[in-house]
């Protein structure tokens, strides 16, 4: 965590809304990308990011950080996304239906560009088991170490590493099958 970020967290802990807004601006897009990759649903992903930031705001005055803020927020998003994913599974909403849900992006063109950019990987990762996808994204996109991921998800380091390897294998086999088609 940089000195600037430490100062922002310190100010946030003393009730500064400007500091909170700066932290939000810094991480919102990154966290939304993470949530979209995990959930494959922008609307749900926006809800997750919203909930994470509101919960974070509620810790003002008592917030204590041991690692990095990015790691902390990424973990919160991953945990919230997992809960949403479980709820969605119970409700048995198909992925096709989820894709068609409302999107908050004001500009349709911007949304289309974003969808195009994030679409390829999101589609591929959508075929990987959720637990493996979670570890892949947290490690490769959020830059979290396996130890951090294991602590965040409440699993052992070996489990995190094996999920990562299985996820990569699965992705490779998906891509190979696409090439051979």
């Amino acid at each position: 965590m940089t000195i600037d970020e430490k100062i922002l967290v310190w100010k946030f802990n003393r009730g500064s809304k400007d500091a909170f807004q700066m932290l939000y601006e810094k991480y919102k897009d990154d966290l939304l990308g993470l949530a979209i990759t995990l959930l494959r649903d922008r609307s749900l992903a926006e809800d997750v990011v919203h909930d994470v930031f509101v919960s974070f705001a509620g810790t003002t005055g008592t917030f204590h950080l041991s690692g990095t803020l990015k790691g902390y927020l990424s973990t919160c998003v991953a945990n919230a996304a997992r809960d949403r994913n479980r709820m969605r599974s119970r409700r048995d909403v198909g992925l096709e239906a989820a894709e068609a849900m409302h999107c908050d992006s004001g500009d349709p063109v911007e949304h289309a560009i974003n969808s195009e950019q994030s679409g390829r990987l999101t589609q591929l990762l959508g075929r990987v088991a959720y637990e493996q996808r979670e570890v892949l994204v947290l490690h490769l996109h959020q830059g979290m170490r396996f130890k951090e991921i294991a602590e965040a998800l409440g699993i052992s380091i070996n489990t995190a590493q094996s999920r990562y390897r299985y996820g990569l294998d699965k992705l490779r086999s998906i891509m190979n099958s696409m090439v051979t088609k």
């Binding site: 009730g15 809304k17 909170f20 807004q21 939000y24 919102k28 897009d29 939304l32 990308g33 979209i36 990759t37 922008r42 926006e46 990011v49 919203h50 930031f53 509101v54 919960s55 974070f56 705001a57 509620g58 810790t59 003002t60 005055g61 008592t62 999107c103 908050d104 992006s105 004001g106 911007e110 974003n114 950019q117 994030s118 390829r120 990987l121 999101t122 990762l125 892949l136 994204v137 490769l140 996109h141 990569l168 992705l171 490779r172 891509m175």
Partner: protein, 145 residues
């Protein structure tokens, strides 16, 4: 490059570049600020909370307690005052005090002032001098004639 590395690189490069919408930003910030206000209103930290949270405050509180206990013990059990040592005066007869040797020793110790003081003490011990003494009386007293 190994196939696994290729896949890793692909996933890294394909990281979604998404942007939040204005509506989402507004909604999130409004709700977050409301949550902050509520937290601040609900739990203004009191002194005990600050002491428990801060390491420096804990040390300061411990130091204050130790000093307080120490002061209380001192005031409850004050140390017994030792009586000042009294000088022991050696009583000497006026006759001894006025011998040449005694006056010489006084002079060696404190000069003319010590001699004068010793003489004064001796005269004080002898009592008041006669109101009037003629040369003839002194000669009679000294010579016995």
């Amino acid at each position: 490059m190994k196939p696994a590395k290729n896949i890793e690189e692909f996933v890294k490069l394909e990281k979604p570049d998404v942007k939040t919408g204005g509506t989402m930003d507004e909604r999130t910030l409004d709700d977050s600020f409301a949550a902050m206000d509520e937290t601040i209103r609900a739990g203004r930290p009191n002194a005990a909370w600050i002491i428990l949270r801060s390491r420096a405050a804990k040390l300061a509180a411990a130091a204050v307690i130790i000093v307080g206990v120490g002061l209380m013990m001192v005031y409850r059990n004050p140390t017994v005052q030792q009586p000042p040592q009294q000088t022991v005066s050696v009583a000497k007869s006026p006759a001894e005090m006025l011998t040449a040797m005694s006056l010489n020793m006084a002079w060696r110790r404190g000069g003319i002032e010590a001699m004068d003081e010793q003489s004064s003490k001796a005269f004080k011990m002898l009592g008041s001098k006669p109101a009037k003494a003629t040369i003839e009386e002194l000669r009679v007293e000294l010579n016995g004639v």
